[in-house]
Symmetry: C3
Subunit: 108 residues, 3 copies
Amino acid sequence: MKLVFAIVQDYDANQLLRAITAAGYRSTRISSTGGFLRVGNTTLMMGVEDAEVPDVLRIIDRNCRERSETIQPEIIGDIHEWYPSDLVEVTVGGANVFVLNVDRFERI
Amino acid sequence: MKLVFAIVQDYDANQLLRAITAAGYRSTRISSTGGFLRVGNTTLMMGVEDAEVPDVLRIIDRNCRERSETIQPEIIGDIHEWYPSDLVEVTVGGANVFVLNVDRFERI
Amino acid sequence: MKLVFAIVQDYDANQLLRAITAAGYRSTRISSTGGFLRVGNTTLMMGVEDAEVPDVLRIIDRNCRERSETIQPEIIGDIHEWYPSDLVEVTVGGANVFVLNVDRFERI
Ligand SMILES: Nc1ncnc2c1ncn2[C@@H]1O[C@@H]2COP(=O)(O)O[C@H]3[C@@H](O)[C@H](n4cnc5c(N)ncnc54)O[C@@H]3COP(=O)(O)O[C@H]2[C@H]1O
Ligand SMILES: Nc1ncnc2c1ncn2[C@@H]1O[C@@H]2COP(=O)(O)O[C@H]3[C@@H](O)[C@H](n4cnc5c(N)ncnc54)O[C@@H]3COP(=O)(O)O[C@H]2[C@H]1O
Ligand SMILES: Nc1ncnc2c1ncn2[C@@H]1O[C@@H]2COP(=O)(O)O[C@H]3[C@@H](O)[C@H](n4cnc5c(N)ncnc54)O[C@@H]3COP(=O)(O)O[C@H]2[C@H]1O
């Protein structure tokens, strides 16, 4: 079994959840915040069988897309000296997905 | 060391936390939401020694119980076509527990 | 790759986030609550290369510090019989850090 942590944009979270559920996979949603932009996002936790990981990644790929956010650098404090101009465009990926090994799973 | 992620119902969370603490184990509580029913639940994160895992699972078993929720299928959107009737009964388990290996632990 | 879960005090979270970001590391912030004191804290999730873990731990060490909280034991219920006096001093560490192995990482 694997435990998948997928960090996705709030825009895509509901559509992704519906697709994950419709495919029969189980999931738990955790509200989170990006460390860099300090904007709310969603961390989805999914315990799936090893062989199901490629299908789950395909569903994430189909339901999450990259977007670009235009930000005022001063909102991210000390990053400001890295960007000379006033407005900065930052690309936020569709999903960042970590797949971890599960040592033991119990349904109680 | 193991890191245990236990997803439990909000009803049982406080009682479980008291039992976990009284047994001398450490834990961190994260608010979460079920992917299917979209109802709030609790994800408990516990770093424990390998030999303590069976005791932690026993405490979870004693303090969490299965319940059945009656729901209106349309709240979970596209699942509706799976359930022909108006009201649907869904069994929600006492706890879903993932035990992961910890590569390194530091108290700073 | 490793996935680092660092549980830190809210007091230090913003300063730590700035330092982590300025060093070029990525992170996701999750609001959490201590199981014992029931006080809000922060769980920081960071996916980093194996060789970067020592540097990330150094940044955490420099930006998080131990504090002592004075509490009324009755707020933590059944712990009360362990502490005979009225007020109790509890030391809360700077950070509790769990480093997990990542089986697979995908940016979608
Ligand atoms: N130190 C840094 N220097 C320069 N640019 C930086 C940076 N940190 C982040 N960025 C850029 O800002 C975007 C938003 O990052 P944020 O931390 O708000 O939101 C992130 C964060 O919540 C999470 N994330 C990404 N990689 C992560 C990792 N290795 N560990 C934990 N969370 C991660 O996924 C969200 C989207 O990340 P994504 O990489 O697609 O998109 C990132 C990236 O393009
Ligand atoms: N493998 C896993 N990975 C991550 N989180 C997991 C998980 N298995 C369970 N959970 C978490 O535990 C809660 C209770 O799950 P349980 O399987 O006992 O009880 C479930 C199950 O009986 C049913 N269910 C869930 N997903 C389903 C699906 N795709 N199709 C049919 N029934 C589903 O609805 C109940 C409530 O589910 P809900 O998602 O609201 O809430 C779930 C979810 O937050
Ligand atoms: N192995 C682990 N697994 C998961 N999360 C962990 C953990 N170890 C620490 N944490 C998290 O880090 C916070 C600070 O823990 P620390 O051990 O420094 O500082 C602790 C410790 O000195 C004491 N404490 C915690 N549990 C105790 C227990 N069962 N008996 C006696 N003292 C306890 O109270 C302080 C605050 O604890 P609180 O639970 O409110 O908040 C904890 C908890 O959220």
